[in-house]
């Protein structure tokens, strides 16, 4: 073989700073996570329920205005509930699907393909790596929830009859944003942590599905049959539902103090961070 050397000159310039490297890794992780067709399809299909919720919300607001305009009784503004319904009942499924696609295989996929070794043979710390994976997966999962949630909140704001009502509705925009971020993190971090525990992306996806659905069915079933609402807190989706109901001022499904589901969510997130961090500290085991 003839070696085609195009010439070599030693590199004598400055090296990029650590922060630039973090940005580069995060941007590349986001681009790679976004690349599969299934991820794009999930994001697009995930917008469809928004249309249904928007139509319902629109007619609810208009109907209430018509009744009140015709001198009817002032009814409660339950149209805003549809922001919560849209975020939780519709987008939860798409956000979970997105977390299955981008978060659960994130670390395990890198280990399986050897990309993990590629990254850590370079001046990349586990902090760089964990942040890049969290941001890449977290942004995509959160967007599935946040885009429809914020659009619904903005629609409700746009339908306000005057400035005073619009001002009163502003907290719903913040609630939609906060709830979306909480849901995005809650669906991303545990999936990432599971991903760091195995070398096979399929195992991480299966494990994440089991952890998500089984306590939901069991927790709610036991809570109903034994009349013990506390048992429902075993389920992450139930805790998210209670947090969402608290944020939107809707009557909660279980008569529990709001700090209890908030505490469970915080505990799950903390455990996930600890698992991910301690696993990544054993780079030599994974690489």
């Amino acid at each position: 073989m003839t070696i085609r050397d195009l010439g070599y000159k030693p590199y004598e310039g400055d090296r990029l700073a650590s922060r630039a490297r973090q940005m580069l890794l995060t941007k590349r992780s986001l681009a790679l996570a976004w690349a599969p067709g299934l991820v794009k399809a999930t994001m697009i299909v995930g917008l469809l329920p928004l249309l249904v919720c928007a139509v319902i919300l629109y007619f609810k607001v208009k109907a209430r205005m018509m009744i009140m305009g015709a001198g009817g009784p002032a009814t409660a503004d339950d149209a805003t509930n549809w922001i919560y319904y849209g975020i939780y009942w519709c987008q939860l499924w798409f956000a979970f699907a997105m977390s299955l696609l981008v978060a659960a295989p994130a670390v395990a996929g890198d280990v399986a393909s050897g990309a993990f070794q590629f990254y850590f043979a370079r001046p990349i710390t586990r902090g760089h790596y964990a942040a890049a994976k969290l941001v890449a997966a977290g942004v995509l999962v959160t967007l599935v929830v946040a885009i429809p949630g914020l659009l619904l909140a903005m629609l409700r704001l746009g339908l306000a009859k005057d400035g005073a009502e619009a001002l009163g509705l502003l907290p719903y925009v913040l609630s939609a944003l906060l709830f979306s971020v909480v849901m995005g993190l809650s669906l991303t971090l545990p999936a990432l942590a599971l991903s760091a525990l195995t070398r096979k992306p399929g195992y991480a996806q299966g494990g994440w599905s089991a952890i998500f659905f089984m306590p939901w069915v069991l927790g709610e079933g036991l809570a109903a049959s034994a009349d013990m609402p506390l048992l429902a807190l075993f389920s992450l989706p139930t805790c998210l539902r209670l947090v969402g109901q608290g944020l939107f001022g809707i009557e909660r499904s279980y008569d529990l103090h709001i700090l209890l589901p908030v505490g469970v969510v915080v505990a799950i997130l903390s455990l996930s961070v600890w698992t991910l961090w301690s696993r990544l500290s054993r780079v030599e085991d994974l690489a």
Partner: protein
């Protein structure tokens, strides 16, 4: 280039590396050792991925435990296993590798194209790396390891999975790296002919202990301790004369392998040839194959 002082690494009850003192200067170094000798652990320590349990590691003037990131900017690593990022083509992968090591984007891209040409992938550089054959993957692994202009290149089984032609080509690429790009290499391989073809110095590890470090020529010569002798006629006559003087002699066709007794030198051979009226055509230190020398080092280590 490299200085290890009392380096030890323990995994639970297993001592992967034991009290290694080693100093290497720039050049082409072969790292040899049977499975479980500690070669991979040593590479991980040299990259700053694993902290030693005891001792000091200095690579290119950097303390590997204290400044692993600065070190990895200047070290290239070609791992044994696939280490490619799916979804990228070869130019994107090498550019990404260069940028992660701190090169500005334009510089990284220019160098990516250059190294891909060097490893013979210029016409395939826009194909996704996951579609590459084993040989092409090995080449792109070498390219991503040298794109950032490393001063030291760690190569772990670089010819794994290659056919004989691909293996020869890969070894040619590696052997010319120090001259063409000014980097030093440490080549770990269980294929001794690979090391023999590329390296000048050898480090032998066995069961976590350092068994030999030094020039390969010395290892092959030093372990023999004998001489090759060829005479014009009747080598058996010279063999008898030398044995009578306490030499150990083996017949290898027309040549003799001669091991002198303690205190004797080659003048003894010349004297006995004169005594027997034999004309010596060839007299040189006896060289053994690297394989033989390597096995002898391991055997001595076991005996010790």
């Amino acid at each position: 280039m490299l200085r290890l002082v009392d380096l030890s690494k323990r995994y639970g009850s297993v001592e992967a590396l034991q009290s290694i003192d080693l100093q290497l200067k720039k050049g082409k170094v072969g790292l040899l050792g049977p499975n479980g000798a500690g070669k991979s652990t040593l590479f991980k320590i040299l990259l700053g991925l694993v902290a030693p349990s005891r001792g000091q590691v200095e690579v290119l003037g950097f303390d590997a435990a204290a400044r692993p990131l600065a070190l990895r900017e200047r070290v290239g690593y070609m791992p044994e296993r696939d280490s490619l990022v799916p979804g990228l083509d070869a130019v994107e992968l090498c550019t990404f590798a260069g940028e992660l090591c701190g090169l500005p984007p334009a510089e990284a891209r220019e160098r990516a194209n250059s190294v891909l040409s060097y490893v013979g992938l210029d016409d395939k550089r826009y194909l996704k790396v996951t579609t590459y054959s084993t040989g092409q993957k090995q080449r792109v692994k070498l390219a991503q390891a040298i794109v950032h202009d490393p001063e030291l290149l760690l190569l772990d089984e670089p010819t794994n999975g290659l056919d004989p032609r691909g293996r020869d080509e890969m070894l040619a690429l590696i052997a010319q790296l120090p001259e063409r790009r000014g980097c030093s290499i440490i080549l770990s391989s269980h294929l001794l002919p690979d090391v023999e073809a590329v390296c000048e110095d050898i480090v032998v590890l066995d069961a976590g202990r350092l068994r030999y470090t030094g020039p390969m020529a010395e290892l092959r010569g030093a372990n023999s301790g004998g001489y090759e002798v060829e005479v014009k006629a009747d080598p058996e006559k010279l063999a008898v004369l030398l044995r009578a003087k306490g030499c150990e002699v083996s017949r290898e066709g027309q040549r003799l392998g001669v091991w002198l007794p303690d205190g004797a030198d080659t003048s003894l051979i010349l004297r006995e040839a004169t005594t027997g009226a034999l004309q010596i055509r060839h007299l040189a230190p006896r060289r053994v194959s690297l394989e033989t020398a390597f096995l002898e080092v391991l055997k001595k280590g076991e005996a010790a």
